[in-house]
């Protein structure tokens, strides 16, 4: 990618987090990811930003998390003004329209289905990073 972007990855499942890491590595942006395991930890990470650290360029959010779920995190983060100017993109395994609708209603910039086809998943991830933060993938 042409410029460095910090990514906040909110994902409680180690295997899913690892797969997102590998996909981002294939896209050439693996060194800029901070992973947290819960919505509460994500709120803390965003609150700490106000104390002077570099802002996140994007938040990649799983919907079903231990403790606070993704939609509640998103609503809280919006309410507290923690994600102003930061696109929050939901990555989900869910096939339910209702999950997608709830995420968009809570203010998600996009909802991306975690596909079972690896190449398709990397392509989708590359497209959404390009669309929301202009990260140009060198992948393929």
């Amino acid at each position: 990618m042409e410029e460095e972007v910090r990514i906040l990855l909110v994902e409680d499942m180690p295997s899913d987090a690892q797969l997102t890491h590998i996909a981002l590595r294939e896209l050439g942006i693996a060194n800029h990811i901070e992973r947290v395991r819960s919505g509460e930890d994500a709120l803390t990470a965003l609150r700490n930003l106000t104390e002077g650290s570099a802002a996140f360029g994007i938040v990649l959010l799983d919907l079903k998390l231990m403790g606070m779920d993704g939609v509640t995190f998103l609503e809280t983060a919006k309410e507290e003004g923690l994600v102003e100017g930061i696109p929050v993109v939901v990555l989900t395994s869910s096939t339910l329209e209702s999950d997608r609708d709830a995420a968009l209603a809570a203010g998600a910039a996009d909802v991306v289905k975690k596909t079972h086809d690896w190449d398709e998943w990397v392509r989708r991830l590359g497209d959404l990073l390009n669309q929301h933060i202009g990260a140009n993938s060198t992948h393929r």
Binding site: S15, L19, K64, S93, T95, K114, H116
Partner: protein
Amino acid sequence: MKEDEGPQVLFEGVGITADEGFAAAWKSELIGLALTDHRGATSGWNRGYEIVAGAPSTADPGAWLERIHPDDRDELLRQGTATVRGGPEFAARYRIVRPHGDTRWVHAVTLPVVRDGRTRALIGAVFDITDDIENATTVVQERSAELEQLIHIIAHDLSSPLRAVSSFAQLLERNHAGELSHEAQGFIEEIVTGTARMRELLTDLQSYLQTLRSDDEPEEVDLNAIVAECLGLVQQAATACGATIEVADLPTVVGVPPLLRAVFTNMLTNALTYHQPGASPHIWLTSKPVGNRHQISFSDDGIGIPAHEHDRIMRPFVRLHGVEDYPGTGMGLAIVHRALRRHGTALTISDRKSGSGTTLSFELRHPPNHSQSLDRSFALE
């Protein structure tokens, strides 16, 4: 039983007259009784009726119908008219809208009083069953919430680890194939194939469970639009096997759109899958009116379904052929069957009348007229 002796004798047997027996029922506050003439004009009602339904505002023929919930009027008028014209007594559940606007569910029995072969009057007995209906509704809502949770578990919790297995297997195959023996690479292929099949099963199980949900309200649905959407979904498969699909002009019916999409998509997918080896499938979709319903028929010239399997094939995960011969999960007709049950109709499977193949047929309701064009009195004469 001493039924043959007549009610008069029975009452006299316990020392009262039939009039006294009926008068006791008429005084009841627990049984609502109303009397109408053969035109539907209310001539009297007891205290029990007033408690359930409120006093009728007028005795005009057909005025009673104003009290019936609009969605229940057509059916009740149809049954009442049939009884006045010599039909039998009938029992029905419907909603009464009371004078102050609140709605009560009643179970009602309507009895014709016949003299000289003609119906002279109707006696209606109504019982308030609102509490029972509300309790049953609560149970349905609880089951619906549990079902929703199960659908969510399938959509997310079961799908997520499956995706992990599939993705890591694909990464192994793509990035480390050179380090693995030929046999090990074969094992990876089996993992990828197995997870893909598991995903199909979960997707179809989710679709099946969604047909059991009770919170989707029926609405007026143009079947032409629904079928057009479904044809779009199967277009790739239809083109691949060179299918010819003939769709007649279809009616507007009462239905739940996502369920009807599931019905037509699964019927189309089945027909495109189970076609004669080496031949391009031909599919016909037609409809014809039957009373206040439309019969929809879906025929193909495929390999057919043996008659003795017609019931079994509507159960979940039942396959009549090996996966290597015909792909699929065995959920197609189970989903169709359940989705149609939700519409109060049944799926009929039969051999196509000419040539090989199968005809699937079912009936869907025509949208109601809300009584506006119906004669509000029984108008016997």
